[in-house]
């Protein structure tokens, strides 16, 4: 009985330390393509870094962005801070528009509502306008404003990166 209790406590502690991970990125990619294709890389030029900074309101975390593509669809796993912790989300982009979005890991203590399909559905079909903003409004969620903004920024970045990956 005691080892089980200990395992449960350790498990809970590990889950707390890792945050809420709902799906591993590779599982999300495999689900989209049916298999796990080799990752591709988009190197961020100075111009791209500047525009990514404008979208994120801070410089991009890294100079190369991994993504997966079969030619028709591309998958972007992005991370952005909501309030204090990173949100990991997977964006599937097709023909310059978001096909669907999923929150893969949410580590904040509040604002998990951004995982709700009813919220994420708003991103489906969204593209970028001339100024690299989403071409539609995304309804906010009270109590999760910063997480909603983080999701919007990541959606814009995924579409922006997708455009460059196809050039």
């Amino acid at each position: 009985m005691r080892p089980r209790l200990l395992a449960l406590v350790l498990g809970l502690c590990a889950a707390q330390a890792l945050g809420e991970v709902y799906q591993a990125p590779e599982a999300f990619v495999a689900e989209v393509f049916g298999t796990l294709p080799a990752p591709r890389v988009l190197w961020l030029s100075r111009k791209m870094q500047a525009q990514a900074s404008a979208i994120l309101n801070h410089p991009p975390a890294a100079l190369r962005q991994r993504y997966w593509s079969d030619g028709a669809k591309s998958v972007w796993i992005l991370e952005e801070i909501g309030k204090e912790e990173l949100i990991t989300a997977g964006f599937v982009v097709s023909q310059g528009h978001i096909d669907h979005v999923r929150v893969l890991a949410y580590r904040e203590s509040r604002g998990q509502e951004v995982r709700d399909p009813s919220f994420l559905k708003q991103f489906s079909g969204a593209g970028l306008d001339q100024s690299d903003h989403l071409d539609r409004g995304i309804d906010g969620i009270s109590g999760a404003t910063l997480s909603v903004h983080a999701m919007e920024r990541m959606a814009r970045l995924a579409l922006y990166f997708d455009r460059w990956s196809r050039d």
Partner: protein
């Protein structure tokens, strides 16, 4: 002198005394309050204040680095979840490093379940977490024939681009191992690797008085009482003559 006049004079005197005595605290509450109100826009959450003194004040454990990882032209020192790569701080909440490897123009720092790839100028190129690694935990990292090699429980894996992996390793691998830091350098590195306290947390504690410890909030309750007295005495001095008229 009529009682009313004496009362007004006493009130004025104490109004001025209390206002002056509590000036610093009122300013502190006002400034920190405004900053906290705009915390998200100012990015207070993501800003850290690094100071050994502050870490001690908050009771945060503060370790001194004892070893470093070196390549021919790069040096990594780590402590308190922070890394100094060639003397520059890179990131917060970093894992404890397993090794430092130079592959072409890339510098790779390995942790148990992640790899951080940097350019020679210290810019982060990529961060590979467990989902982008062939196996975790990593046990060691090294270089062989110009490629990166990671050692795992099921054997070594090799990558030329730190992106795609193949099982196995070149015949000769130079594994990264730590070297002791000279005693004289440790304190200097410890200063630069002091743990960080979130600026938001610090401002919140200054605003509430918790920064001063257990008695801090009680002291700030007293300041709040002073503010109430100031508001009431000010209101009385303003309204009383007008009501009398």
């Amino acid at each position: 002198m009529p009682f009313r006049l004496r009362l007004v004079r006493t009130l004025r005197r104490w109004h001025a005394r209390i206002g002056f005595a509590a000036l610093v605290f009122f300013m502190l509450i006002a400034v920190t309050g405004v900053a906290l109100n705009h915390g998200a826009a100012l990015g207070l959450d993501s800003r850290q204040v690094h100071s050994k003194w502050l870490a001690r004040w908050y009771g945060v454990r503060h370790d001194q680095p004892r070893q470093a990882y070196r390549t021919a032209s790069h040096l990594l020192v780590a402590a308190n979840g922070r890394w100094l790569l060639d003397g520059s701080a890179v990131g917060e909440k970093m894992p404890y490093p397993l090794g430092l490897v130079e592959i072409g123009d890339m510098i790779v720092v390995g942790g148990e379940s992640s790899l951080h790839v940097y350019r020679a100028d210290g810019a982060l190129v990529d961060r590979l977490d467990s989902s982008a690694l062939p196996r975790v935990p990593l046990k060691a990292i090294g270089a062989g024939e110009g490629e990166l090699v990671v050692q795992t429980a099921v054997g070594p894996f090799t990558s030329a681009d730190v992106l795609s992996w193949r099982a196995g390793a070149p015949k000769v691998v130079s594994w990264s191992t730590p070297t002791p830091l000279p005693e004289a350098d440790r304190e200097a590195y410890a200063q630069r690797l002091a743990p960080g306290i979130s600026l938001q947390r610090m401002l919140l504690d200054l605003h509430s008085g918790r920064f001063l410890g257990r008695l801090g909030p009680l002291f700030f309750d007293l300041v709040a009482l002073f503010l109430t007295i100031l508001a009431l005495s000010g209101a009385w001095m303003f309204l009383a003559p007008r009501l009398r008229r």
